[in-house]
């Protein structure tokens, strides 16, 4: 019988090369899992984090090499694509993983009873697996890969949200997260099945080609796309799929919240950008569609940003406030998604993608810094509430001043990098041609005004309120870390002009 004689070609080496960052990080996960067999407990935790950081940094460098080389390389029989957008975002995501590991070393590893310290190998394996999923999300061009990527990003995240299993809040956060995630994933899969039925393929490009040649999207495909949006919207916590976000951020440990606030959203937003471009990017074929799709995304962005900012006003818990703030920022980035490419330019060079990438880059640093300060203050005071920050300017100026910079940057006020990001975004919206997106600029400005109030509440608490509590000790390492985060947040403005050319 000639049954075993199947000639199945292995993926070509070029595909593996394009996929090298994920391979490196996966190997790191295996190394992290095997480490405990060779090390005693006392050494294990920090080395685990260090190995993760090194592996992630190596992956980021590998992705960076691909970014520098440029070009668009479809890999794995068209399931993934390694173009400039995906390469840049993978640099961002894997670099962020490295930063998170360092942050963990500085903040969490001081906490004796923290579950992520006691079971560091498990925690870092989950962290890495989720990051691989996010790396997959930003480069998927096939709905099957989209689904697999989202699930790979989500399932370890659920476990990480509940990693503090001794604490009730962690258990509650994980349960809400997983229930919400499972529901949206199921709806997404139903949507994907409908899209498969309509277009006979799961390839985003071929669906896009069908949409372009048909010039119309049948209602059933719209239903399918809405289902898909539920899955992606869940990852970026767009309204109305945002309910999990504040609860999970509050219940999970600070490091997990930081990770989810940046990496998960960045991956989701890049994926959404790709999907929206695929469907609406053929402006030449169907101009009226570009308008309605941009309008739909714009409305989604408006809702997300406004609701996030308004809800953040009422928060006393800083982690929860930052959660709503991250929803609001997802709303801003969604505005960038609405900027569809107009003159046949690819996804990588489009102004929307540029604005999105710059915003995410800046947001990474300011959010990481803000969360780091929250974690450090929590380590000393045991509280994440705004009262804990009262008088911080006097008690720990090395934390308070960078924190103020982060918050100002989060608002988007001029001297900080956040301003550059927002300006770039609003400018792109302002000059967008075939249809007018200027109303989104107005929305964005109003929202920035709202956000000023709650960010400044923290600044006011830090510098204007007084308290009897003594000074907070800040180790040199911690101070150095926070200041290191503050450097790009202030310094990026200086290199603003080259930065816009970066992508």
């Amino acid at each position: 019988m000639k049954l075993l004689a199947l000639n199945v070609p292995l993926p070509p080496a070029a595909d593996m090369a394009a996929f090298a960052p994920e391979l490196i990080v996966t190997a790191t996960a295996v190394a992290v899992l095997l480490l405990p067999f060779f090390l005693t407990r006392s050494r294990r935790d920090r080395l685990t984090a260090a190995v993760t950081a090194l592996g992630a940094a190596a992956a980021a460098v590998a992705a960076g090499a691909f970014f520098v080389r440029g070009g668009s390389h479809p890999a794995f029989s068209g399931l993934l694509v390694a173009d400039r957008l995906s390469s840049f975002l993978r640099v961002l995501i894997f670099g962020f993983l490295a930063l998170i590991a360092v942050m963990w070393l500085i903040t969490a590893s001081r906490r004796r009873n923290d579950a992520t310290v006691i079971d560091a190998p498990e925690f870092f394996t989950l962290l890495i697996a989720a990051t691989v999923g996010m790396g997959m999300m930003v480069s998927s061009v096939n709905l099957l890969m989209v689904v697999v990527g989202i699930e790979l990003a989500s399932l370890p995240s659920y476990a990480m949200a509940g990693f503090q299993k001794q604490q009730r809040l962690g258990a509650e956060a994980a349960m809400k997260y997983v229930v919400f995630g499972a529901v949206t994933a199921a709806v997404m899969l139903y949507g994907v099945s409908l899209l498969y039925g309509v277009y006979g393929t799961l390839s985003v490009d071929r669906i896009a080609a069908s949409v372009a040649s048909a010039g119309t999207i049948p209602p059933v495909a719209v239903i399918g796309m809405l289902g898909l949006l539920a899955g992606v919207g869940f990852k970026i916590s767009a309204v109305p799929f945002h309910f999990w976000c504040p609860d999970v951020f509050e219940g999970a440990s600070v490091e997990v919240a930081t990770f989810l606030s940046v990496a998960s959203k960045a991956a989701g937003l890049a994926l959404l950008l790709r999907l929206v471009y695929a469907v609406g990017g053929f402006a030449g074929a169907a101009p009226h569609y570009a308008g309605s799709i941009a309008l739909a995304v714009g409305i989604l962005a408006t809702l997300t940003a406004t609701l996030g900012n308004l809800a953040a006003l009422a928060q006393d818990n800083l982690k929860r406030m930052l959660a709503y703030s991250s929803i609001a920022h997802a709303g801003y980035v969604l505005m960038a998604v609405a900027i569809l490419p107009t003159d046949g330019q690819g996804i990588s060079g489009s102004p929307g993608a540029q604005a999105l990438v710059l915003y995410l880059l800046v947001y990474l640093f300011m959010n990481l810094g803000a969360f780091s300060v929250v974690a450090l203050v929590y380590n000393r005071t045991g509280s994440e509430r705004i009262e804990a920050f009262a008088g911080l300017g006097r008690r720990a100026p090395l934390l308070a001043i960078p924190m103020a910079l982060f918050l100002v940057s989060l608002v988007g006020l001029p001297p900080m990098a956040g301003f550059a990001a927002k300006f770039q975004l609003f400018y792109a919206l302002f000059v967008y041609q075939p249809i007018s997106l200027r109303w989104l600029v107005v929305v964005g400005l109003v929202n920035t005004l709202i956000s000023l109030f709650y960010y400044m509440r923290v600044v006011r608490a830090m510098f204007l309120q007084t308290t009897d509590d003594g000074p907070i000790e800040v180790s040199a390492l911690a101070a150095g870390w926070v200041i290191a985060m503050a450097v790009p947040v202030t310094g990026l403005l200086v290199v603003w002009q080259p930065l816009t050319k970066l992508f």
């Binding site: 199947l6 993926p11 996966t26 407990r41 790979l152």
Partner: protein, 310 residues
């Protein structure tokens, strides 16, 4: 007729399960109702020719996931007959919303045009689509000649040659025994593959056609073809069918659908086109294993660390 009976049987079972899940207030009974749906869905997959998926559904879903769920129910219910009663108003609202949803969804589904392809058209119809001007066409000369001889072509709904129009496509068409059908028709397409005279094509004809092809255009070499023919010459073999020919040729692509269920094709897919998600799933399962084992592990004192073994 038999198909209709089986379909309605399975469908009734699936729906009974679904409504049981919806209406049952006892969580264990909910899980048992889910078993009905899962089993019926497996039956439907068998009915649709997806044998392997059906079997996997039984092994993984009914035998694994559902057992896990029931296990979870047992571990998390103090009172064995725990009930969770939704409020009346919620039920009313949910019923209305769901009925509206079903109505809308069904209406939309029934008024939609679905992708149909590959379908087999006559040579004349293919010519009308202008496919010969398609850039792929020159690669397909040999196949075209072969198809021409049979007055068939494998094209998708738009008249574009589907996928790689190779012998795999032909075998697929042969297996599904497609025939000329109007675009957008969603009826049963499993009708005999016709030859030039409009008669069902026999295995011998297919074999002859395979022989006539230049070697580089078929996935099997001459020796394999000869031995396939020799194997089919056994004295008590009945008239050869298209499927038997495809089976005996031993070619992976040809075998796919001659197996009757695409199982081999699925295996090839996992090693070929879908290798990446297949491997990614392994990372996912590793992470899930670690995450679930960590969370479900009994609480350990914070100072004691986890497991002295490590």
């Amino acid at each position: 007729m038999l198909e209709a009976i089986l379909f309605y049987g399975f469908a009734a079972m699936a729906l009974a399960g679904a409504f049981g899940v919806l209406l049952s207030r006892n969580i264990v009974r909910t899980a048992v109702w889910l078993l009905a749906t899962l089993g019926a869905a497996a039956g439907l997959y068998f009915l649709l020719g997806a044998m392997f998926v059906g079997a996997i559904q039984l092994i993984v879903y009914a035998g694994g996931t559902l057992v896990l769920i029931i296990f979870g129910v047992m571990l998390t219910s103090k009172n064995p007959h725990m009930r969770f009663a939704p409020r009346r108003a919620e039920v009313a609202v949910a019923a209305v919303v769901c009925l509206a949803l079903v109505g809308l969804l069904v209406w939309v589904l029934l008024h939609s045009t679905w992708y149909v392809g590959p379908i087999v058209q006559t040579r004349a119809q293919w010519a009308q689509t202008g496919v010969n001007e398609h850039p792929w066409a020159h690669d397909l000369q040999a196949v075209t000649q072969f198809l021409d001889a049979n007055h068939v072509a494998i094209v998708d709904a738009k008249g574009v040659p589907c996928g790689p129009v190779t012998l795999a496509g032909l075998a697929r068409a042969a297996w599904y025994e497609l025939t000329v059908m109007p675009q957008g028709d969603q009826g049963d397409r499993r009708q005999p593959l016709h030859d030039a005279d409009g008669k069902p094509m026999s295995g011998d004809q297919l074999l002859a056609e395979l022989h006539a092809l230049p070697p580089q255009d078929r996935a099997i070499d001459d020796a394999a073809l000869e031995s396939a023919i020799a194997a089919l010459e056994s004295p008590d073999a009945p008239a050869r069918t298209v499927q038997q020919v495809a089976y005996a040729c031993g070619d992976a692509d040809l075998l796919t659908d001659a197996d009757g269920d695409g199982t081999r094709n699925i295996g090839l897919g996992f090693l070929g086109v879908y290798l990446l998600p297949f491997e990614v799933i392994s990372v996912l399962l590793l992470a899930v294993l670690i995450g679930a084992a960590y969370l479900a592990r009994p609480r350990v004192p914070a100072s004691g660390g986890t497991g002295g073994g490590r």
